[in-house]
């Protein structure tokens, strides 16, 4: 074979192997830190929507990761789950906290969203998120515009960002229904199961 071609193969292979080796080392160092960051974020979000929780455990139900909050005495204070769905411009991802009775929300925190800055992205503000604390989920959550909410299942939409507000409500309603169903089935199993 041509000497030139051999040199090309050797150089490229050497570069690739060296790069791969170095990257593997870096990844090994960085990976646990990245995972720790992810868990810390998750924990922060769970404790935010379940204010009484001091610890949590993860259970998997029907493809959902449900986080059960536990207080310092070890008793259950509620459930938290991640709700994802379409917003005005892209995906909205939220952590939602649900009380033990499964009829009241204990909080909501927007984790990821790409709504319009200054308008839709105000769903991440505490004034909006805070409305979900203590919100009744029966009947379904609804929103009102330009006035104070009157019923226990109502929140006030953000002025000028009706679509984003509507999306949040719709996502929470939809995911909540699924989670509650999954949890209730579990209860049935607990009660009547073998």
């Amino acid at each position: 074979m041509d000497k030139r071609i051999i040199k090309m193969i050797v150089v490229l292979t050497a570069t690739a192997v060296l790069s791969g080796g170095i990257l593997a080392l870096v990844y090994k160092k960085a990976e646990p830190l990245i995972e720790a960051n992810r868990l810390r974020e998750l924990k922060k979000a769970i404790f935010l929507v379940l204010p009484e929780a001091k610890d949590y455990k993860t259970v998997e139900k029907k493809g959902f990761n449900i986080y059960i909050g536990i207080d310092e005495n070890g008793s259950q204070v509620g459930y938290a789950f991640v709700a994802t769905g379409p917003g005005f411009q892209g995906k909205i991802k939220m952590m939602v906290g649900l009380a033990n009775d499964m009829k009241t929300l204990t909080g909501m925190k927007v984790l990821e969203q790409v709504e319009t800055p200054g308008l839709g992205n105000r769903i991440s503000e505490d004034t909006f998120q805070g409305q979900f604390k203590g919100l009744s989920t029966e009947p379904e959550i609804t929103y009102v515009k330009n006035k104070k909410p009157e019923k226990p299942n109502e929140i006030q939409a953000i002025t000028g960002a009706t679509i984003s507000s509507k999306s949040v409500v719709a996502i929470v309603n939809k995911e909540l229904k699924k989670v509650v169903k999954a949890l209730k089935e579990e209860e049935v199993e607990k009660t009547y199961g073998p």
């Binding site: 005005f88 319009t116 200054g118 308008l119 330009n146 002025t159 000028g160 009706t162 679509i163």
Partner: protein
């Protein structure tokens, strides 16, 4: 015959009238356009009070000053006397909500003149309608302020305007209709100059009578809105508004007679004007019914402005004996 062939190649190919660069006519046309804007201006002051007048004044002054600064800075002839800056300022103000802050209107005027007109080289060179470009900037910069509408406070001065929804957002978000008579006279909420269809028509008839605008563009624009709006209405009358509501509400009238007819930013050939009007009208209905915003007039015209050079190029009438090159 070889001589004729040679001569033909030397011919300068010109498009049909109107020609953009007939400078001596610009001031007269512009002053008449300003005159034709008086009815909608008057109605807006009647329905929305002093702030309407101040808004028009502010944005016009901002436009004139910006034009002056640019032309002075670039050592060009100062042409603020030709009235085009005044028209941009007035049209911009007429598309703003009545309670819009004056400083923001001034900013809109500065953007309209600088980014909309002078960055391209001044009158005749701009691609986009400057007033609409200014408004698009304001819409993107202050989305809450520009959608905060006050109810018409007939005659009185708006103290702290009661916020209401425009007929279009009532339709889009609440499924609620507004009576045609209100849309005709203009005692509904909306931008300063767009609420009264009759006032705009009076100004438009004057311009048509004077021969400064032709019917092709407004007709194709409104017609396309009527037809495409009508199709959706026939498909599902409960879900979509009727075509008459479409053409009477929002900025359709103002856009059709004062923006689709702009000499600089719309096609100069008749066929191009038809295509422009029909496509823009179709866009209005699509944006209104399926877009995130309740109103689509501004973006429909701006989008079509962008392809105007293309329309001019491909709809150029063939001159007798012209040989297609390339």
């Amino acid at each position: 015959m070889p001589e004729i062939k040679e001569k033909k190649d030397d011919l300068l190919i010109v498009s049909s009238s109107p020609h953009i660069h007939t400078v001596e006519n610009i001031p007269r046309i512009m002053h008449n356009v300003i005159l034709s804007l008086f009815p909608p201006m008057g109605v807006s002051v009647y329905f929305f009070g002093m702030n309407a007048l101040l808004l028009m004044l502010t944005s016009t002054v901002a436009c004139i000053l910006t034009e002056y600064v640019f032309q002075k800075g670039r050592k060009k002839e100062i042409t603020i006397g030709d009235g085009s800056a005044i028209i941009t300022g007035l049209l911009l103000a007429l598309t703003l909500p009545p309670a819009f802050p004056l400083w923001a209107a001034a900013l809109g005027g500065i953007v309209a003149m600088s980014l909309g007109k002078h960055i391209f080289g001044g009158l005749g060179y701009n691609i986009f309608n400057p007033a609409l470009l200014g408004r698009a900037f304001l819409q993107a910069a202050f989305p809450v302020m520009i959608t905060t509408w006050s109810a018409p406070l007939t005659g009185s001065i708006p103290v702290d305007g009661v916020t209401t929804a425009t007929p279009l957002s009532l339709m889009k978000f609440e499924g609620q209709m507004t009576p045609y008579l209100n849309l005709l006279f203009g005692n509904v909420s909306g931008s300063l100059g767009e609420t009264s269809a009759i006032a705009i028509l009076i100004g438009a008839i004057y311009l048509l009578y004077k021969g400064y605008i032709n019917l092709r563009q407004p007709f194709s624009y409104i017609g396309a809105i009527f037809v495409s709006g009508g199709i959706f209405w026939l498909i599902s009358p409960d879900k979509y508004p009727d075509p008459i509501f479409h053409i009477l509400s929002g900025g359709v009238m103002l856009g059709a007679f004062f923006m689709v007819t702009d000499y600089v930013t719309t096609p100069t050939t008749p066929l191009g004007q038809w295509i422009f009007g029909i496509a823009a009208g179709f866009l209005v209905v699509i944006i209104r019914l399926f877009g995130g915003l309740p109103e689509g007039v501004m973006y429909s015209i701006l989008l079509m402005n962008a392809i105007t050079p293309l329309l001019n190029r491909y709809t150029r009438p063939k001159i007798f004996g012209e040989v297609k090159v390339g």
